[in-house]
């Protein structure tokens, strides 16, 4: 199968503008270096030809931008969605966060994105150029010259544990539709579950104490689209700008994860953007895992219109006391 590359997407994006399918395109824009790619809205073919780019560092999930972008005027927005982004796309549609009519979605197959921090850890500082052929990553640095790294060694954590390579929503597909794959994404959650209570507390105390409360995890999250977040609302008694006490750190992250429980598609953006490298996705995955165990398997965003587990119930649901035990011992 041919890997989707920049040229193919540029051609497609330009074509969508030229034939009037859309009047703007949400895509990725070249940065200063080969890896610092910014999501961008393209308005002209010229701009697309000059600045559009697609490659192994285009991890950003563009689906959330549709909420804002579809509110601007009548025209259609074309958007490129990787498989995991299509789940967010469906979830946003389920919650009626944007008008489907105003969007032209192009699904693109994906084999996993690279993580520049992993590249830097292996290749060292001073990266002048980095390119990949789908198998190897060629890195040139200021101090150590050229190095070749296996792409599989620098794949982002969230992509190693990818749950599905299937594009579940699109108007047009580039590459293959892909398939839902078996993943080991709950392994780390299970590992933490099997720790002792003190170890678990220690692990999270250590991770969450790094939080600087920049809100990047919340702001990037495609499930966090409230018009006014409870943490920004002075009347909510939850507004708090800084982790003034270790309690506040825990509170923020518990509530953040709880508010997206059952709606989180596990796209992994929260952990990707965290400047302090807190494994926030583990909190979300714990909820997903528990939901699967307690109420049957559920994948948010797999279908438009599915009922999220937390706004649903059955009369025979598990009791909280048992649930806590089950959530702990499921893998023991």
């Amino acid at each position: 199968m041919q890997k989707i590359n920049s040229t193919m997407l540029i051609e497609k994006a330009a074509q969508l503008l030229e034939n009037g399918t859309a009047d703007r395109v949400l895509g990725w824009k070249k940065g200063e270096f080969d890896y610092d790619i910014t999501p961008a809205v393209f308005n002209s073919v010229d701009q697309i030809k000059k600045e559009f780019v697609f490659g192994d560092f285009c991890g950003a999930n563009l689906s959330k931008y549709l909420v804002k972008e579809t509110r601007k005027g009548d025209g259609k927005v074309a958007v490129f969605l990787k498989p995991c982004d299509t789940y967010s796309f469906n979830q946003l549609l389920t919650e009626k966060r944007f008008d489907r009519e105003k969007v032209y979605a192009v699904g693109i197959s994906c084999e996993g994105m690279a993580d520049i921090f992993k590249v830097k850890q292996i290749a060292g500082d001073g990266i002048v150029s980095v390119s990949s052929d789908g198998e190897n990553v060629k890195v040139e640095t200021l101090y150590d010259g050229e190095k070749t790294i296996k792409l599989s060694d620098v794949i982002a954590e969230r992509c190693i544990n990818c749950k599905s390579r299937k594009c579940v929503a699109y108007d047009e597909l580039m590459g293959e539709e892909g398939e839902i794959i078996d993943s080991d994404r709950f392994d780390m959650v299970s590992k933490i579950e099997s720790m002792s209570e003190d170890e678990r507390f220690g692990f999270w105390q250590n991770e969450l104490s790094k939080c600087i409360r920049c809100n990047a995890c919340r702001n990037v999250c495609p499930a966090c689209t409230c018009e006014k977040c409870v943490f920004d609302n002075p009347d909510s008694c939850a507004q708090n700008k800084a982790p003034a006490d270790s309690f506040e750190e825990k509170m923020f992250h518990i509530i953040r994860a709880f508010h997206v429980a059952g709606r989180c598609t596990d796209c992994g953006e929260c952990s990707r953007v965290c400047p302090q490298n807190i494994p926030l996705h583990l909190l979300n995955r714990k909820f997903i895992k528990d939901i699967d165990t307690f109420y049957g398997e559920y994948q948010a965003g797999a279908q438009v219109g599915s009922r999220a587990p937390l706004v649903d119930y059955t009369e025979g649901d598990i009791e909280p006391g048992e649930a806590v035990m089950k959530g702990e011992s499921e893998n023991a």
Partner: protein, 341 residues
């Protein structure tokens, strides 16, 4: 100039920590960060710390004052305790410069005693860079990473660490360290300085110039249509402001603990939607306006009020950390680009 062998660096740490708390950059699983030194903690080889050194003087949260209320009465209590001396080891030239920038904000009248006390009690050992990264652009703002400054400048070679005092405070502490250091010749580090200078020229951002920005440029850039495009995908988080060594905006908040009200201040970000929100409106309603505020402040407003000094030091943290990789370099290149002339 003094020096010690790298093997003996630990004795220097020990000596310093006899009289004050010492923080050194140490490796964690996510990169380097300033860590309180205790025996066995090793100094990191990393170029710079994740979080900037401003935290030592302007912490993310700090209590200002406490109130006890009883009926209609209020008692105001200053809860501050006597500050302790501390030393920060291995601060890079960019972060050193950031103290100058913060000083101009906090130490001009009316003077901020919380910040000032920490400045008085802190000794800074700066460390010259030898391997700047591609994201470094301190040169743009006239910073020489081979002459880091602050109380004591340090240069690290393969086998030795060199110390040079720049201030009275620095001289005093080097005097205390005489028993664990040897005298050295200033020319011993000339080679390193020269080499660093050459590398600086080769950095990908070495051609970035701040010439087009500075004092009196408000009208030139304020209404630029480029702001909309640049900020189009900004998610409005506070990452850039919180990792920035020069961002100094803060909020003052009250926390009712049930036993009293603690008034504390915490970092705030001009990128946040509630930053300028008042009871009857918001002067910066859109993300574009908030985005513009941040960069205009660094590149124009601050220079306006501070003799042309920029409030960016080119440390590159925002380049590494921004969730969407939008940063001051892209802003400067886009706004200062030819098509804006």
């Amino acid at each position: 100039m003094r020096k010690c062998s790298l093997q003996n660096l630990e004795t220097v740490f020990e000596k310093i920590s006899e009289s004050m708390t010492l923080y050194i950059p140490a490796d964690t699983k996510d990169g380097a960060d300033f860590t309180k030194w205790t025996k066995g903690v090793q100094m990191s080889q990393a170029l710079n710390t994740n979080r900037s050194a401003k935290d030592f003087f302007f912490p993310q949260t700090e209590d200002l004052v406490e109130f006890k209320t009883e009926g209609k009465n209020i008692e105001v209590i200053d809860t501050r305790k006597e500050s302790e001396d501390f030393a920060v080891f291995g601060v890079r030239a960019c972060d050193v410069k950031s103290f100058d920038i913060l000083d101009r904000v906090f130490l001009t009248e009316p003077y901020d005693s919380y910040y000032a006390t920490r400045r008085e009690h802190g000794v800074i050992f700066s460390l010259a860079c030898t391997r700047p990264a591609e994201t470094c652009f301190c040169g743009t703002f006239g910073i020489n990473p081979a002459e880091p400054g602050a109380d004591v400048s340090m240069w690290k070679t393969d086998s030795e660490m060199f110390f040079e005092a720049n201030t009275e405070k620095g001289k005093e502490i080097l005097k205390k360290l005489e028993s664990v250091t040897q005298s050295a010749d200033a020319s011993d580090v000339d080679g390193q300085k020269k080499k660093t200078g050459e590398i600086m020229k080769k950095l990908p951002l070495s051609d970035l110039s701040a010439e087009k920005f500075g004092k009196g440029m408000t009208s030139k850039y304020f209404d630029s249509p480029k702001w909309r495009e640049l900020s189009a995908t900004c998610i409005g988080c506070g990452t850039c402001t919180f990792v920035c060594p020069t961002c100094q905006c803060y909020d003052i908040k009250d926390f009712n603990s049930g036993k009293g009200v603690i008034r504390y201040r915490c970092w705030d970000s001009c990128m946040y939607s509630d930053f300028t929100k008042m009871a009857h409106g918001n002067s910066r309603n859109s993300q574009t306006e908030r985005f513009r505020q941040r960069f205009m402040h660094k590149l124009v407003y601050y220079p306006d009020n501070n003799d042309g000094m920029f409030s960016c030091v080119g440390c590159g943290r925002c380049l590494n950390k921004c969730p969407i990789s939008m940063n001051i370099v892209k802003v400067m290149k886009t706004l200062g680009g030819e098509d804006n002339e």
